[in-house]
Every structure is written in C-alpha cells, then in structure tokens.
C-alpha cells in the first residue's frame, strides 16, 4: 500500500496556522506524506495543488468564521474538475449547527478544538479512498 498523501491548506484570509502546522507534523509522524500549502489559498489554488500533488486527502484549516462560504466553494470546484475520490476534511472553529450544512457540501468530517491528533490520523486511515491507496501497489 502506498503512503497516504495529504494536502493541508489554509483557505481564506485568516492567518491562524498553529493548528494546520501541528496537524501537518502529526500526520507526517503518523507515516503520511504531507504537503502544506501555506496561507491565503483560493479555491482554485487548493484544487490545482490537489491535482498536481495527486493528494488522497485534503485537510482544510479554517478559524475565521467564513466556512459557510469558503468551504463549499472548494468542494464545488473539486466536483467541477471531476475529482470525486479525494477525502475532504476540515479542522477549526465550526459551530455544531453548521456541521450538517458542510457535510451536505462534501465535507466528510469536521474536527473541532480539543481533537486528539491520533483521532484525525485514524479517521484518515479508515476513510481514505482505498482504491487510490491500493492502485499504486501494482
């Protein structure tokens, strides 16, 4: 099985990157390949980085409160590019009542403050598209 490749990205204008950087290291230490986009990424930039890197997972970190607008714009663009097998997850400050809304818009899981690092890594292993991981084995 190939190593899972995760693109961690900061959409929107918020500069709070503590969580994004911590999760990058944790996933790397958990044996995954991690690419960090840096700050202020537009939906276009995130989607094109995901394609270029052939990422299996996109982890979006957002603490600005703009998630209801920004996150659906990323998932919509993925859909438009025909990318349907990439797992999209989110970390940050997302009120519980927005979870349903985001899940309807293609966000697989939401990790709020206080999530143990291990839990995020385990979720990825269990839910990453297995075909993507196994294909490369041949």
């Amino acid at each position: 099985m190939k190593r899972i490749k995760v693109l961690v990205a900061k959409p929107g204008l918020d500069g709070h990157d503590r969580g994004a950087k911590v999760i990058c290291r944790a996933l790397r230490d958990a044996g995954m390949e991690v690419v960090y986009s840096g700050l202020e990424q537009t939906s276009e930039q995130i989607v094109s980085a995901a394609i270029q890197e052939d990422a299996d997972v996109i982890g979006l970190s957002i603490l600005s409160g703009a998630h209801r607008v920004i996150l659906p714009s990323v998932t919509k663009m993925l859909k438009e590019k025909g990318i349907t097998d990439v797992l999209v997850i989110v970390g940050g400050i997302i009120p519980t009542e927005d979870h349903e809304f985001l899940k309807r818009h293609g966000i697989a899981a939401i990790f709020g403050p206080g999530t143990p690092l291990k839990k995020a890594a385990e979720y990825i292993r269990e839910n990453v598209n297995k075909d993507r991981i196994l294909i490369e084995e041949k």
Binding site: L39, E40, V69, S73, P95
Partner: protein, 552 residues
C-alpha cells in the same frame, strides 16, 4: 537579600530536610521548560539585590510596577476587543460596553481589512464583517465612532500592515468631530515583525513593513503626542504556541528592533520611547505569568537605559496591555472558561498590567455574545473592586518562589535574545524562520503532551462529559452585512471625486518611492475617500508583497 550566615544555615537545614523526606515526587516543569522545585526558601534568592533588582514601585528597574501608586492611584483600563459586522453594528456594541463601565475602546477589524483588501475584492468573499468590523473608507470609520467623542475615550486598534490607512482615517474622524490631534489618545498595534513570526497578517516584505512602523512612530512624536504608535506584541506569539520565555524574548527582540530603527532616523530615544507600549498574553500557569510580567518590566528598563542610553524614567517604563489566552479556552464545557479567564486576569493584575482584555467564555465557538462579553467585563470589575488585590502594590514581591522564577524567566529569555542578536537581529532571524520554527516546535510538543495527558485540560482530556451538548447563546453574523457593505462602498466610489483620488494616490506612490514618511500622503488619500484597498495596492507597487517560506 539575606545575611550570608543565615543563608548558610538554611542551606544546611535544607539538606538535612531533604535527606529525611521522601524524594519520590514526580518532576514538574513549567511551559518554559524550567524545572520547578518542591518549595523555595531564602537560599534560592540569596543573590537578589533589593535596590538593584526590585526597588520601590515607580523606581528603576521598575520590577514592582511603573507607577509609584499603581492601582491605588489609577486602575488599569478595562478594554474589551470588539468588532463585527458593519460599522453601525459595532458602534452599537461600543456604546453598550461604555454604558456598562468599560473604560476604553478596542477595535477588531475583519480579515479583509487586516490584509488590506476592500470588501468588494473577490478574495474577501465570505469574510466581510465576519471576524471583526469591515472598514473600506473614511465613511465606515465615521460611522464606527458616531456619537463617541474621541477626546473623551481612548481607542486601541488592532491593525498592523495597513496601520497608516486606519490611523489616517481615525485622525480624519477626530478632525471632523472638531477634536485636535493632541487631544486624542489610543494605540495602534502596528507591530509588523510579530506578523511574520506568528499572526501572519503581513502584506509587504519585512524591511518596508518596519519602515512603515517607524513612519507612524515618527509622525506621532511630531503631531499626535498622546498616541501610542506601536504595541509590541507577544500575545500572538504565545497564542501561536510559544512558551512564556519565548514570548518574552521574541517580543523584546521585536521592540529592540523598532527602537534602534527609530534612533536611525535621528530621533532621540527619550522623545519617542515614552510612547512605546507592549502587549502580552496571560496564560494558565499562574506564577509563571506573573514572573514573566515582572521580568519583562525589568528587562525593558535595563535595555532602554543600558543599550539605548535612555535618561528619562518614562522611556524605561514598560507600559503593557494584557489579554487572557484565547487558545486556553475550551470548546468543551465552555462555562469552565469563566474560571480560567478569572485566574489569568488575576495573574495580569498581580503582574502590574496597565490595561486588560478578558476573553469571553464562548470564544472557542464564536465571536462573543453580549451575555458572554458582559461576564468577561464583570470578571475584571470583581477583581478590581471586590478581591482586595489592588490595595497594595506588587503583593507577591519577596516570595521566594516568585522572585526566583522572575530571575529564571529573565535568564531563559536572555538566551534567546542573545541568539537573535547574534543572527543580526530579529529581521534576519525571522527571514531564516528561526522564531517561527521555535514556536511551531513548542506548539507541537504541547499538543503531544495534551494527547498523552501529561498536560491536563479539564473537560478535554480529563473530567470529560461524553453526553455533553454545548448550549451557549449563539452569536451569528448576518450574511446581509456583506451586501450592505458592498452597496455602501459602491455608492462612495460613484460619488467621490475620482480625479482627486488619483492625484493623491500618485503623490503617495512618489513619496513611497522616494522613501519619505508616507503618513501625510495616506492621510490626504483617505480624506478624499480613497479606499483601503487602493492605498495598499499603491504601496504594494512600490514595496512588493511578502511570500512566506513554509515551515512546519
């Protein structure tokens, strides 16, 4: 502090005591990695010299406080960071807070404003008025302070790279109110360096960014004498994950950079240094925080006197604002945050702060509701009026533990400052990614300790309530805000004199190219309703933009 024979006796007795007692206590260290003894006694502070290291309140090195009467003379300013939606909505919140006993204003801007984008820039989509108040033109600023007399309140503005613009707008509002610049007081954060290190709302590369910081300092010294032109901030450094000692060291290193750059403009240190202010975080470890504040005051005074030759006491005063820690707030069992905030606020008061923001208990979820922000303000009022803590100055001075810890934090911070000095100063150090890497390391280590429960967080990794359903009064930004803001901006752009806008933006560009102080030119531009985005774009054409090197 003590007679040497007495200390010798104590040491002998202590050795005996240690032999007799069980030594099987687990080791403890604080956030700065300093091992903490089981207890402290006179032998731990036998080198402490009262005159040299502590002295009286209001006397060099000001360890015990900068004022000789401290809170008996004047309480700290209760200043709640606040801003959301449109300028009108935030204006209402300000009037509410002032009516509830708040004593100063503190403006939170939305992300587009912090990054120098107008609300109608495509990149601002979804963020207008969300994390703070949206300001595009002078019109918004007028609405923000409508009915608030700027000669009666002081205002702090958390703005960094675009400081010249927002500050220019504030000056213009004062003028419109008929208040002269020498009557207004307040602070702009204007701390570019910590943006590269931690907060990450940078725009221009480090050198021009610092140049703009110094422009504001120089302008204020000449024309706005009661204004604090920079708030040298450790808060964001700490929130990004640093330890207390790193927070102290990186903040002071930033401050040293601004002081030497301002001196390079032929400004006398005793002219501008009295207007510099600092800003720290009050985190969970109670004594470590108090020690940090005291050490900071002593170190700043010594740097100003010894490194820069300051002669006036006021130049050596470290006046500082404190905010309780945002990252220490938990989303789980959020009511517990009220207690955390109270303890953190107490450490700030025992540390001698001049101004304080207490966080609201719901901030791990949202911008604070009115209920939550009122409790936060009441917390300060209870500390100041009920607890008795304000009766005497620096009441913990002389504590064996606290004095030892104050020295130790200073020592740890000095190691970092020396390292940064050896790299050629903070600008060089941050270009190498040094403080960024140190902070990221500390943040990751901390999180690992939380995950393995070495670091207990009540309600998160111990004493959890699995069935908990968080119930807090919700505070939401109406999506209509964006529409209202876009419409107002459109109206202004249609109705202003375009020719004048272009003329002043051109002059601004020329001033930036010829390395003049740009503040007067920015001021003229905002007065003819040039937008924030237009002014910042003009400056970007001259200074370029910063792309950060990715470190994790």
């Amino acid at each position: 502090m003590f007679d040497s024979n007495f200390v010798k006796q104590i040491k002998t007795k202590k050795e005996k005591w240690q032999e007799d007692q069980s030594k099987n206590v687990p080791e403890r260290t604080n956030s700065s990695g300093i091992p903490i003894n089981l207890f402290y006694d006179p032998s731990n502070i036998d080198q402490l010299n009262y005159d040299k290291d502590l002295c009286f309140p209001g006397e060099y090195p000001f360890t015990r406080g900068i004022h000789n009467t401290m809170y008996r003379g004047r309480l700290w300013t209760m200043r709640q960071f606040s801003g959301f939606g449109t300028a009108e909505q935030t204006n209402q919140r300000y009037k509410y807070l002032l009516s509830e006993g708040e004593t100063g204003l503190s403006v939170a801007f939305d992300f587009p404003t912090l990054k120098g984008y107008d609300s109608d820039d495509p990149i601002s989509m979804g963020e207008v008025g969300v994390c703070g108040v949206a300001i595009d033109t002078l019109k918004d600023m007028e609405l923000l302070f409508e009915g608030i007399p700027l000669d009666k309140v002081t205002t702090s503005m958390t703005i960094n790279a675009p400081t010249p613009v927002l500050f220019g707008m504030y000056l213009a509002v004062a003028e419109n109110q008929g208040v002269s610049w020498d009557q207004i007081g307040g602070t702009v954060q204007n701390d570019a360096l910590k943006e590269f290190i931690a907060q990450k709302s940078f725009i221009f590369p480090p050198e021009p960014s610092v140049k703009l910081v110094i422009d504001v300092i120089e302008f204020c010294v000449k024309y706005v004498p009661r204004w604090n032109p920079v708030s040298i901030s450790g808060y964001h450094i700490r929130e990004a994950g640093s330890t207390a000692a790193q927070e102290l060291a990186f903040t002071l290193s930033d401050g040293l950079t601004y002081v030497s750059k301002t001196i390079e403009r032929d400004l006398d240190v005793d002219i501008f240094a009295p207007r510099l202010s600092l800003f720290f975080c009050a985190h969970n470890d109670f004594f470590e925080e108090i020690a940090k504040f005291r050490a900071a005051r002593r170190m700043w005074a010594r740097f100003m006197k010894e490194r820069f030759g300051a002669k006036k006491d006021r130049s050596m005063w470290m006046r500082f604002h404190t905010q309780t820690s945002g990252v220490a707030l938990t989303a789980q069992q959020p009511e517990n945050n009220i207690v955390r905030v109270a303890l953190q606020a107490l450490s700030a008061v025992l540390g001698g702060t001049q101004s304080l923001h207490t966080n609201s208990f719901d901030e791990a979820w949202q911008l604070p509701s009115e209920k939550a922000v009122t409790i936060a303000l009441r917390t300060q009022q209870i500390i100041s009026h009920e607890s008795g803590i304000t009766a005497t100055i620096d009441p913990l001075a002389g504590s064996y533990y606290l004095e030892w810890l104050t020295d130790k934090i200073e020592e740890e911070a000095m190691k970092y400052i020396d390292r940064i000095d050896n790299m050629g100063g903070m600008i060089e150090a941050l270009k190498k990614g040094y403080p960024q890497r140190e902070i990221a390391n500390s943040a990751y280590e901390f999180q690992k300790e939380v995950d393995n429960r070495k670091q207990v967080i009540v309600g998160v990794n111990q004493f959890m309530d699995e069935r908990e359903e968080v119930k807090i009064p919700r505070f939401r930004i109406d999506p209509e805000v964006e529409k209202v803001q876009l419409e107002r901006l459109k109206q202004i752009k249609e109705n202003r004199n375009q020719e004048k806008v272009l003329k002043h933006l051109n002059k601004l560009k020329k001033a930036a190219e010829s390395n003049e102080n740009v503040i007067p030119y920015v001021l003229n531009s905002v007065k003819v309703f040039a937008t924030l985005g237009e002014i910042i774009t003009t400056l970007k054409e001259v200074y370029g933009v910063f792309k950060e090197q990715i470190v994790f």
